[in-house]
């Protein structure tokens, strides 16, 4: 009885258990197995053999993997700053009082509601050369359609993908900045005005330092999201032409399917490192203390 009572009184110490059990079962346990697989030559069929770090050595001699690293990094370096820049500008604009503010915010966020897969299909309707919406628009407006094969060329296809990603998730970034802007006490700006500082000055000295938390969240989620990009590329270019827009995530899945289970898991480990290193560096740079909750 006493034990039961004691347990009941201290139940709060076990309140994290359901979450961690669930997560442990469906993520950490398979992950541990996955790490084991990355050290083998498993092909998904015959018995795997332990080969140590051979898969990681192979990775550094794999031309296709190098190209995919380039594509993935290009996509991330293109997306993350643009998302933050436009998300912040959008938030500054929509933070001001005007009629229909809530409506416009919802509309700007709306693209993020739709699955990237379906979004990819929609943009394909728009961008297809010779028969897409944009082609016909340019044609009807006599603006010339010569260079309209945006998706057929590796470089422009990557840029298009960055653009679509920024377009779709700018609302998401904006909401986080809006939240940051709204937590700034108005008195700070008043004090600033009394001092005779202009808009740009107050932006630089008050707004930006006060939204550091938003910047942190945005940069981290953007790095994670854009480095593991998958669906929008599958829907829009299928990684093509050739492998020219293939991302590391796509490569991982294709290797997994293509009898290279062990290697695929090793590449996934590399991707994990690629994500966590910039995140940690960024966190340290922005604020050493705040990361440890």
């Amino acid at each position: 009885m006493i034990i039961l009572r004691k347990l009941w009184n201290n139940l709060h110490l076990f309140m994290a258990l359901p979450a961690i059990l669930l997560f442990g079962l469906f993520f950490i346990y398979p992950l541990a197995q996955g790490i084991g697989i990355s050290l083998t030559d498993s092909n998904g069929m015959s018995a795997p053999r332990f080969i140590g770090l051979q898969n990681f050595v192979d990775f550094f001699h794999d031309a296709r993997a190098k190209k995919d690293v380039y594509n993935t990094v290009f996509f991330a370096i293109g997306s993350a700053p643009l998302l933050n820049l436009f998300g912040f500008l959008y938030a500054l604009i929509l933070d001001r009082p005007f009629k229909g503010k809530g409506f416009v915010r919802a509309v700007v966020y709306l693209p993020a509601v739709i699955s990237p897969l379906i979004m990819g299909y929609v943009w394909y309707f728009i961008l297809q050369p010779d028969r897409g919406f944009l082609y016909h628009l340019l044609e009807n407006l006599h603006l010339g359609t010569g260079g309209s094969d945006w998706l057929g060329n590796a470089h422009s296809a990557l840029i298009v993908l960055v653009f679509i990603n920024v377009w779709q998730f700018v609302g998401m970034t904006m909401i986080i900045y809006l939240a940051g802007l709204q937590s700034i006490p108005k008195e700070l700006y008043e004090a600033c005005e009394i001092d005779g500082a202009g808009y740009m000055k107050s932006l630089w000295y008050i707004t930006i330092p006060m939204v550091v938390q938003s910047i942190k969240i945005n940069v981290v989620t953007n790095i994670i999201g854009s480095l593991s990009v998958f669906e929008v590329i599958m829907a829009l270019t299928d990684g093509g032409p050739g492998y020219s827009t293939e991302s590391l995530s796509i490569y991982i899945l294709r290797m997994l399917y293509g009898s290279f289970t062990g290697y695929s898991t090793a590449v996934a480990m590399v991707l994990f490192a690629m994500i966590i290193i910039p995140v940690f560096i960024f966190m340290r740079y922005i604020n050493k203390k705040e990361f440890e909750m």
Binding site: D130, G152, N153, G240, G242, S244
Partner: protein, 443 residues
């Protein structure tokens, strides 16, 4: 305080409702993975659930109808269809995790080697199967049959007869004639694409390699030894990386067409749908496809039937002959680990009944592979027969499972995008990719 209690109550009720909701749904929803646990159910006879795993999107609706018929004729057995786009890849995950379908359309050499399929050699239906198809269904290593194909499919060049007539063109059997035909279309009908390539879909480009490049190997070695050469990766026979070998020649030919502007400008981004539409509406003079395209073409424009012409692929190298794909289609295999092999065989026999094969063939517009089935399978019957007699009949390629037709097609995309400086570089890269995948499963 009252409101708080209400809130707590509400969330409690919601949670209960949720649990009850999924519990209830779970009980009456078909749950094939737990068929072993059905034993405690009341009633003397337990229902056997069979999983049919397919990668053929075009037959999903038809198979559902056939399955319904089978289920009502066979109380006690319940077949359930599962379709996956990437079936040949997904089945790998299924084999690896033990979630194994009973009967499937996915048959690959690697899995045959792994003993994943049931030996069907002694089944009673073999005398009914066309000999050529039976040969293609025979495993070259063991001489046994682990799969049966219900149909034959063909692939070659489809052309627009009206355009050919107007310009006075004839079916081309040599590369120069083929190119001259395309050039004539380009010169005299500037609005029409001479050869429409659906390059966004890498499988269509993979087919070009299988039929044109591998076509040389297949006609040189014959059916049996070419299959052995592919399956055992006999590189001295395949000669993938040889200068002026099959791959090098193929790459040169394709680049010739691209340089001369004889294919669509968006060859790299156009889809299969675009290709069908362009061809069926007379905006493309020629396409490379298989018989599977015909039903869709007629859906887009029903009157187009009389204008469809079909011919073999021209020879791409001097001294070789034109080829036409004539291969086994709609294959079925029963898995070795199936818990209900007898029931699975029953379902297979049902599918092989002449009546059902007739329905299937006429729906797919594809000739049956069974001698006792007469199906009115399509408008191209006579033309197909003619093409079969004027070109060497070749089969699909047995590629290593890590180097699918999609992978090969992506390399052709790279070629068309100008990422290889010479055609020989392409041939070497092709051999490397093939060898790497072959080694992954042969060690």
């Amino acid at each position: 305080m009252r409101r708080k209690k209400l809130g707590l109550l509400l969330s409690g009720v919601m949670m209960l409702g949720l649990l009850a909701g999924c519990g209830g749904k779970n009980a009456d929803s078909p749950n094939p993975s737990s068929s072993a646990g059905m034993a405690q159910e009341t009633g003397p006879k337990e229902t056997v659930k069979l999983k049919f795993f397919t990668g053929k999107v075009e037959t999903v609706d038809l198979m559902n109808t056939l399955i319904q018929k089978f289920n009502s004729e066979n109380p006690g057995i319940e077949v359930e269809q599962e379709y996956q786009k990437d079936a040949s890849n997904v089945i790998k995950v299924k084999f690896a995790s033990g979630d194994i379908p009973d009967i499937t359309t996915v048959v690959e050499q690697d899995y045959i080697d792994q003993g994943k399929y049931l030996d069907l050699s002694n089944e009673p239906f073999w005398p009914r199967v066309l000999p050529a198809v039976k040969e293609l269904s025979t495993d070259v290593k063991s001489g046994k049959q682990y799969q049966v194909a219900t149909n034959v499919t063909m692939a070659g060049i489809f052309y627009n007869k009206k355009i050919f007539q107007e310009l006075g063109l004839k079916e081309a059997l040599t590369w120069n004639d083929f190119k001259a035909n395309l050039q004539a279309v380009k010169d005299k009908k500037p609005d029409v694409t001479p050869l429409f390539i659906a390059g966004r879909e890498s499988w269509t480009l993979g087919h070009l390699i299988e039929f044109l490049a591998h076509g040389i190997i297949k006609q040189d070695l014959g059916v049996k030894s070419s299959r052995e050469a592919f399956i055992n990766n006999e590189s001295d026979k395949l000669k993938f990386d040889q200068e002026n070998g099959p791959i090098d020649t193929f790459a040169k030919r394709l680049l010739e067409l691209q340089e001369a502007g004889l294919m669509n400008k968006d060859a790299l981004t156009a889809t299969y749908d675009n290709q069908k539409e362009a061809f069926a509406t007379g905006k493309a003079a020629m396409i490379s496809q298989g018989m599977w395209v015909v039903a869709d073409l007629l859906k887009i424009s029903p009157d187009f039937q009389i204008d469809i012409g079909f011919s073999p692929y021209p020879s791409i190298q001097d001294g070789t002959k034109p080829v036409v794909l004539s291969a086994d289609d709609s294959r079925y295999a029963i898995t070795a680990e199936s818990k209900h092999p007898e029931e699975a065989k029953k379902f297979l026999e049902f599918l092989l009944q002449p009546e059902n094969l007739k329905t299937y063939s006429e729906f797919l517009k594809s000739p049956p592979a069974f001698t006792d089935v007469t199906a009115d399978w399509g408008p191209l019957k006579d033309q197909a027969n003619q093409a079969l007699s004027s070109g060497v009949n070749i089969a699909f390629t047995d590629s290593p499972s890590g180097f699918s037709g999609d992978d090969a097609g992506r390399m052709v995309q790279e070629l068309l995008a100008g990422q290889y400086s010479t055609s020989l570089d392409f041939a070497k890269a092709y051999k490397d990719a093939w060898d790497k995948a072959w080694k992954a499963t042969h060690r």
